[in-house]
């Protein structure tokens, strides 16, 4: 018996959320009295892989096939199922992100395993295998029991703090025999947003709504975001009016984010907007209308005109950063 974690790398390096997933997998394994193995796919160096040991990985299986450098649900599923069978894995963990969500359901169906999507707790083994997740777009939690012998979890990152320890993982090469069918999907073009922190991973987010009046006023939000090292987001009407690109749109029909800090400027706080951001640890609302519904969901509120408040906040952050160098 064992626990296996899918560790997906980004151009040869592992991100913090992968460390978090490995650490989560190690803790789950410990609570079940077993060991954790990690699966790495594609082109990534042994040194990078060994580093996963600092987060509790004992053994890492590596399928060093460059065709796996792009996430492909079918080939990834075959690799993960092969690894899980080899390790006699009873629990399979992937991240609840675009890649994990493309792969985990296939793996679950292939192994006839129950799946919890977006776990935010360790499994409670005293009642079977019960895992907590958010439902109704953050308006409630559900406790889901998996009854099948094999269990699959997609883990919501930014749930538990990451602690770096000692240790180095052993690397074992794994051979997986792929057929042509496994790579029927061909990648034609890749467009990555370069430089900026991807919104889905940002710990700090500055977001603007229709109260910003027009795209020409976004400069003050960009200044604030830059000063904080934050990513930018927006409400749906802002993206629909092409003031901002669609990938910045958050909410029910846009992205779902869970940053440590969400600063909402000129956003009324409609329920569909909150659905995408109410997992944020701390919410700051800047709005000139004291009756704006967003204040009910906020930790800190500033009633005032964004055009005046935002530049002042940027100055205050600069002052703070200089004092805390």
């Amino acid at each position: 018996m064992s626990v296996i974690v899918l560790a997906e790398h980004t151009q040869g390096t592992f991100k913090k959320k992968v460390f978090e997933a490995v650490q989560y997998g190690a803790a789950v394994a410990q609570s079940m009295g077993t060991t954790v193995s990690v699966l790495a796919l594609g082109t990534v160096s042994d040194a990078e892989i060994q580093g996963l040991g600092q987060y509790g990985a004992q053994k890492v299986l590596h399928v060093a096939d460059a065709r796996l450098d792009n996430v492909n649900s079918r080939a990834y599923t075959k690799a993960l199922v092969t690894a899980a069978q080899k390790e006699n894995a009873k629990v399979i963990i992937a991240l609840h992100d675009v890649s994990g969500k493309a792969v985990a359901p296939r793996v679950a169906a292939s192994l006839k395993a129950g799946l919890v999507a977006g776990a935010i707790s360790y499994p409670d083994l005293s009642k079977g295998f019960v895992v907590k997740k958010t439902v109704f777009a953050g308006k409630a939690y559900a406790y889901v029991n998996i009854s099948s012998e094999i269990k699959v979890i997609t883990y919501m990152s930014n749930t538990f703090p990451v602690k770096k320890g000692e240790g180095s993982a052993s690397v074992e090469k794994l051979d997986v025999v792929f057929g042509d069918k496994d790579f029927a999907i061909q990648v034609k073009e890749v467009n990555k947003v370069t430089g900026a922190v991807p919104l889905s991973e940002a710990e700090l987010v500055v977001s603007g709504g229709r109260g910003m009046k027009g795209p020409e006023n976004w400069g003050i939000l960009e200044d604030l975001a830059k000063t904080l090292g934050a990513a930018l987001a927006c409400s749906r009407p802002v993206a629909d009016s092409h003031w901002r690109p669609h990938h910045e749109h958050v909410g029910q029909t846009g992205g779902t984010i869970r940053p440590n800090l969400y600063i909402a400027v000129g956003i009324s706080g409609a329920i569909q907007h909150l659905a995408g951001v109410n997992g944020s640890k701390t919410i700051v609302v800047i709005n000139k209308d004291p009756e704006a519904p967003f204040f009910k969901a906020a930790d800190y509120g500033v009633i005032g005109d964004a055009m005046e408040v935002v530049p002042r906040l940027t100055e205050a952050v600069k002052k703070f950063k200089e004092a805390h160098q």
Binding site: V98, R106, A117, K139, N145, I185, N191, H246, I271, Y300
Partner: protein, 247 residues
């Protein structure tokens, strides 16, 4: 080319969430149900566009649900599509939903199966991937663009920190999200036509759930917003540092 669109009935986005029977059931009393927005705005509308463009020959809809889901299916048919299939059971285990659809779809030779990125009630995003595995099809998740020519689909999809364009021969399962198409509003003619379109009820296959929801609870209410004077941004920064510990 035949397209199957998976339609999930979900509580309206503004629903106040409450539970009954000692927090073990979602209380549907007084709750209005709608078509899951991703299924309606993106999957269904894109399927209809492909039919209007002469690329698809048929668009069928499928829902796993009890009789109370029928108004939702009719609403979807009012947007378009020739016929709908309702598989007569209910489950909040995504494995059961996927297996029921797969059981029906495997004999129907669909070239393209479209579903939404996730249901807005249980926020899983799982049915499409499971269905692809069960039907032995390729699967592309989080698509924001889809075209088909000569039996090959070109799909734009979200990846870590960006976007990717893939090509893949049919058959294929795609989960759809924003960017795919613009929302449509059903017109009177569509609503009238939907009344007489076939809605087939298929008995459920015998499939055991692999997971079940034991109980629910509500997040603790926010303790109340702390207001800071607009002149005093130093105080806000200080609170974010010392109290919230986020900067």
């Amino acid at each position: 080319m035949k397209i199957l669109v998976c339609i999930s009935p979900v509580p309206d986005t503004t629903t106040k969430i409450a539970f009954s029977d000692n927090n073990t059931h979602f209380n549907t009393q007084g709750v209005t149900f709608i078509i899951n927005p991703y299924d309606e705005w993106y999957a269904l509308v894109r399927a209809l566009e492909l039919k209007e463009a002469g690329v698809a020959t048929a668009v069928n809809l499928v829902t796993v649900g009890k009789a109370d889901a029928e108004p939702i299916i009719r609403k979807a048919l009012a947007l378009g599509g020739e016929e709908a299939i309702r598989i007569d059971t209910e489950s909040n285990d995504p494995y059961v939903v996927a297996a029921q659809i797969a059981e029906y779809a495997k004999s129907q030779a669909y070239d393209l199966v479209l579903c939404g990125k996730e249901s807005i009630d249980y926020n899983n995003g799982v049915v499409g991937g499971m269905l692809a595995e069960m039907l032995d099809m390729n699967y592309i998740a989080f698509a924001s663009g889809l075209d088909v020519a000569n039996g090959v689909a070109t799909v734009k999809r979200e990846i870590e920190g960006g976007e990717e364009t893939d090509s893949c021969p049919l058959p294929l399962v795609v989960s759809c999200q924003k960017g795919m198409s613009e929302a449509r509003i059903p017109n009177m003619r569509g609503i009238m036509a939907a009344r007489t379109k076939p809605l087939k009820v298929v008995p459920a296959a015998d499939i055991q759930p692999l997971s079940n929801i034991v109980s629910y609870d509500l997040p603790p209410a926010k303790t109340g917003v702390k207001l800071i004077a607009p002149e005093n941004m130093d105080e806000l920064v200080n609170l974010l540092h010392t109290e919230a510990k986020v900067i």
